[in-house]
């Protein structure tokens, strides 16, 4: 049988997707792929993760055996150099000549490098391929100051990458008067600017670079306004240029500003040649995102296998992947009145800006911008794309429904069946729901059978909601089960363990679980057991997370850190001296932590018991820096010294820290006590925070720092110390009993139906009738406190566990190495 030959030029994301799509439709083709890069297709969208520990193979979209298994001939490191259209052949750099029936150009684009004097200097990079990133990574080790040219989507991503690489000072140079001019409006840009400044980026707007200065390597940027900026390296991210050089050479029609012109079937001016992905120019537009590229690949695969399908433009909504800053724009983000009505929410305090544009008749969402909080992005995008009728109060979409009953009907389940949930893999709502109906009930199952969520991953939260929604609709009970070994939520298991008085992991597994356990349920059960029975955790050391097992945090290179408790941050000179002596004796690096105490890093496993013995002999206790337990209660100096202090915040902080120390919880807990409303202890960013008032204390709960900061909310006002402690007792115990594993109080509250008013009712008004019990249970935990390290150093059997080699207990791990830094040590790694 005749097997037409398809030659694919370019083995990037879209070229690869084309092969995959073609194969699912037919195997009657002889497919030959040429790639210029030395490696098989990889995930360029997540390129920056290469700097966060992902390897080239993590990013790979496929394996070389996939090509052989599917009879695809793959030539890597061998760019196609010429197309002979009359002969229908291509010629490659390595000298291959191949005859094609159809040719698919998926050559992507390259970084646009402006023609500025000095651009060829050493230390100037672009940000496009793994090779580029390898060069940047190597160069960055000796660079202190870096700059990125271009404040667009990719430029900001590159800038964040420089920070992650440890470049001390990073600048972004933007020619336009604002950031991300293509995606967000100027108010949004302003908000983004201040957020990015907080991340440590230096941003220069309205700056036109005149020259790159330096001997042979770059040393400074010179601007048109005669100012200059000394730098050690530069990443150019000033836009992309479609790779149309091969097409141009072959006489195919290309656009004046680049790009291979195609029709809706992705055919170029030669009907046997197609162009897809970032090299294709459709109706004057280059689609610089992966989802439209995949759609183009599907159009060609359909056409070649006899199915009619066309490409008619694509939604260019985007969400920025910067960690720590949410930015998204969707639909028509820029349309303004009188063509629409605009609703804007702006909170400069929290750095949140949300704008939605709705149709003049108030019925449809046209587009919008989200800065600072983009949680609603997926739903809003769906609302635009599916023309879903808006609720009567469309502002609820960005503010959440306030006060009145929740406005059902805008949830995922109400989306139309053909709503595109995963745009990377073109998976519709109905495909996901029917997979759930067929028995897929986890995100992994859905990924396997529909591929949804395997591309950029942006739709995963939506898919999870759909799974839960569909199961609920089918009357299936949706449970937050702990893992494959326990069909219970943490709360259920907590109650079961309690009622049945089970005290050891193996018995819990025998009674309520199956299999042999794993790294998810072991620490979860360990936490339940210690919250219930407060037994010495090292007695069941092998079910503890590594940090709890060795009562210290494992760090780079395999050493451990030592953090003694310093309640309220108050410490005597004598104790400071002891810390200094111990650190010196064991060669430890010391640092004041963000939690008002001192961390000693770099301890060998073998040394831990001796180090702790010396500390304990001097009156210290474990600081539980390794445990899902109380960390610190931060204090401000308060009325004893501060002229504004209303009460003695230090004494109260110490009292509270002493009360809750050692208690195990679903996640770590932190507190703070401030002596007045100036709030120097940052109590409102803690799980519980106390602020002195004229009449007593205000108690706030469920605050969080970390990657998604959230302020604590007011639970009670002007209460006395005893009431304050009583409320914290109940609040903490209720949290310990009901939260999912590894859920901080803020997230726990966010998921709680009824939110803060419900919590208030439980804690203050005893609406569940459990207050007395909570009080008792907390008192029980307080009464059974012990310092774990004291237990260990007093027991030869437990001490024996702190050896690196079982058959050479005196020897330390020889792979651990240190180097000197600022008169201290750091792990060589």
């Amino acid at each position: 049988m005749f097997q037409p030959t398809i030659v694919v030029v370019g083995n990037g994301m879209v070229g690869y997707k084309f092969c995959e799509k073609l194969l699912t439709r037919s195997s009657h083709f002889n497919v030959i792929v040429f790639g210029e890069e030395p490696r098989i297709a990889y995930d360029r969208v997540h390129l920056s993760e290469y700097f966060n520990g992902k390897t080239a193979s993590d990013l790979s979209l496929s394996t070389s055996s996939w090509y052989t298994d599917n009879n695809i001939e793959l030539h890597l490191n061998d760019p196609v150099q010429e197309i002979n259209r009359s002969e229908k052949t291509i010629h490659s750099l390595k000298g291959l000549t191949i005859k094609y029936d159809y040719l698919v150009l998926a050559t992507g684009s390259s970084a646009f490098v402006p023609d500025i004097p000095g651009v060829e200097k050493e230390g100037v990079f672009v940000y496009r391929s793994i090779d580029d990133l390898e060069l940047i990574k190597t160069y960055a080790t000796n660079a202190k100051v870096g700059a990125v040219m271009g404040g667009g989507l990719l430029g900001l991503e590159a800038a964040k990458a420089l920070i992650d690489l440890g470049v001390e000072e990073t600048h972004v140079i933007e020619f336009a008067p604002r950031l991300m001019p293509r995606q967000i409006d100027s108010t949004g840009s302003g908000m983004l600017l201040s957020k990015l400044k907080n991340l440590g980026l230096n941003i220069h707007l309205n700056k036109n670079t005149a020259a790159f200065v330096g001997d042979h390597k770059i040393e400074a940027l010179k601007f048109n306004d005669d100012t200059s900026l000394p730098i050690d390296m530069m990443v150019i991210s000033a836009g992309i240029r479609p790779r149309d050089e091969l097409a141009k050479l072959a006489g195919l029609h290309t656009g004046t500003r680049g790009g291979i012109i195609v029709n809706e079937k992705m055919q170029t001016s030669d009907e046997h040649i197609f162009a897809i992905g970032e090299c294709a120019l459709y109706e004057g537009m280059i689609y610089g995102l992966v989802a439209p590229g995949y759609e183009m690949a599907d159009v060609v695969a359909s056409y070649l296998t006899g199915h009619e399908k066309g490409f008619y433009g694509y939604d260019m909504s985007t969400k920025l992947k910067l960690i720590g800053v949410d930015v998204a724009s969707f639909g028509d983000a820029f349309i303004t009145e009188p063509d629409c009505r605009t609703i804007i929410f702006e909170d400069t305090h929290k750095g949140i800006y949300k704008r939605i544009n709705i149709s003049n008749n108030g019925k449809y969402l046209l587009g919008g911008i989200l800065i600072g909080d983009a949680d609603a992005y997926n739903m809003l995008l769906q609302t635009v794309n599916n023309k879903i009728t808006l609720p009567p109060n469309p502002e609820d979409l960005i503010l959440g429904s306030r006060g009145t009953e929740d406005s059902e009907g805008t949830g995922v389940i109400s989306l139309p069946d053909d709503a595109l949930i995963c745009s990377c893999e073109a998976v519709s709502k109905s495909a996901i729901c029917s997979a759930v109906n067929d028995g897929a009930c986890s995100i992994d199952d859905i990924k396997k059978c529909t591929k949804a969520g395997t591309g950029c991953g942006g739709c995963v939260p939506l898919v999870k909601d759909l799974i839960a929604g569909t199961m609920k609709k089918n009357g299936q009970y949706v449970k937050n089960v702990i893992c494959e070994h326990f069909e219970y939520s943490r709360q259920e298991l907590f109650d079961l363990v309690k009622i049945n008085k089970v005290k050891n992991y193996d018995l819990v597994l025998d009674h309520f679980g199956k299999g042999d356990g794993c790294e998810i349920c072991k620490p979860a059960v360990a936490s339940i057991l210690s919250s219930l029975w407060n037994d010495v955790i090292v007695k069941q050391d092998t079910i503890q997370d590594s940090n709890d097992r060795y009562l210290a945090n494992i760090q780079k290179g395999g050493t451990y850190s030592v953090v003694p408790r310093i309640p309220g941050g108050e410490i005597t000179p004598d104790k400071l001296i002891i810390i200094g002596q111990v650190a010196k004796k064991y060669g430890l690096y010391t640092k004041i932590t963000g939690g008002q105490r001192i961390d000693m890093f770099g301890a060998h496993l073998n040394d831990l018991p001796e180090i702790w013995k010396e500390l304990i002999d001097a009156g210290f206790e474990s600081g539980h820096a390794y445990g899902k337990a109380l960390r610190t209660v931060k204090s401000c100096v308060g009325s004893t010294w501060c002229r504004f202090g209303l009460h003695d915040s230090v004494s109260f902080a110490i009292e509270i820290e002493e009360r809750y120390k050692g208690i195990r919880a679903p996640h770590k807990i932190k507190g703070g006590v401030s002596g007045c409303i100036r709030e120097c202890a940052e109590a409102q960013s803690k799980d519980f925070g106390i602020i002195a008032t004229e009449k007593g204390w205000n108690l706030y709960v469920c605050g969080n720092g970390g990657s998604k900061p959230q302020h604590a909310q007011l639970l009670a006002t002007d209460i006395d110390s005893t009431t304050c402690i009583k409320y914290i007792d109940r609040f903490l115990m209720f949290y310990i009993k009901t939260a999912d594993p590894l859920t901080r109080t803020a997230t726990w509250l966010n998921k709680m139906e009824g939110g803060m008013s419900y919590l208030k009712n439980v804690v203050i008004n005893d609406s569940l009738g459990i207050a007395e019990k909570l009080d008792e249970e907390m008192q029980q935990l307080v009464n059974t406190y012990h310092c774990e390290w004291k237990e260990v150093i007093g027991s030869p059997n437990l001490r024996k566990r702190f050896a690196h080699f079982i058959n050479a207990p005196e020897e330390k791990d020889p792979s651990i190495k240190f180097e000197a830094m600022r008169e201290q040590v750091k792990a060589q790694w």
């Binding site: 520990g53 193979s57 349920c521 590594s546 494992i554 080699f805 020897e811």
Partner: protein
């Protein structure tokens, strides 16, 4: 069927040196071997101690457990929780890593690791 290979059995330690359902690290020349006492199943396993993900000498300090309907035994690295099959050494969370496994035998409370 048994294939005859040159296995050198080294005495690693005694059974009660290794915590139940946990691991220890054994020194063999310059090699570091992680030895696991899977007491829940009455089984012993050994693998390299080095985690291939970020080259950390850590697997002996990892949590062991099982996965799937056939209860495939595994260890999770304490650093980033990549998991590896104790039977084959293949990485269960990320296909591309592979760790070395060693045979283990227990005789009269003594634990021996086979060096191939």
């Amino acid at each position: 069927m048994e294939t005859v290979t040159d296995i050198e059995w080294i005495l690693a330690c005694y059974t009660d040196d290794v915590p139940e359902n946990g691991g220890v690290c054994v020194k063999h020349g310059n090699e570091q071997i992680a030895l696991y006492n899977f007491s829940r199943r009455g089984e012993w396993y050994a693998t390299q101690n080095l985690c291939p993900h970020k080259q950390q000498m850590a697997l002996s300090r990892g949590m062991i457990g099982s996965t799937g309907d056939d209860c495939n035994p595994k260890v999770a690295c304490p650093f980033h929780k990549k998991t590896f099959s104790l039977l084959t050494g293949e990485c269960l969370t990320d296909e591309d890593y592979q760790i070395k496994t060693y045979p283990v035998k227990v005789d009269n409370e003594r634990v021996y690791i086979g060096i191939i």
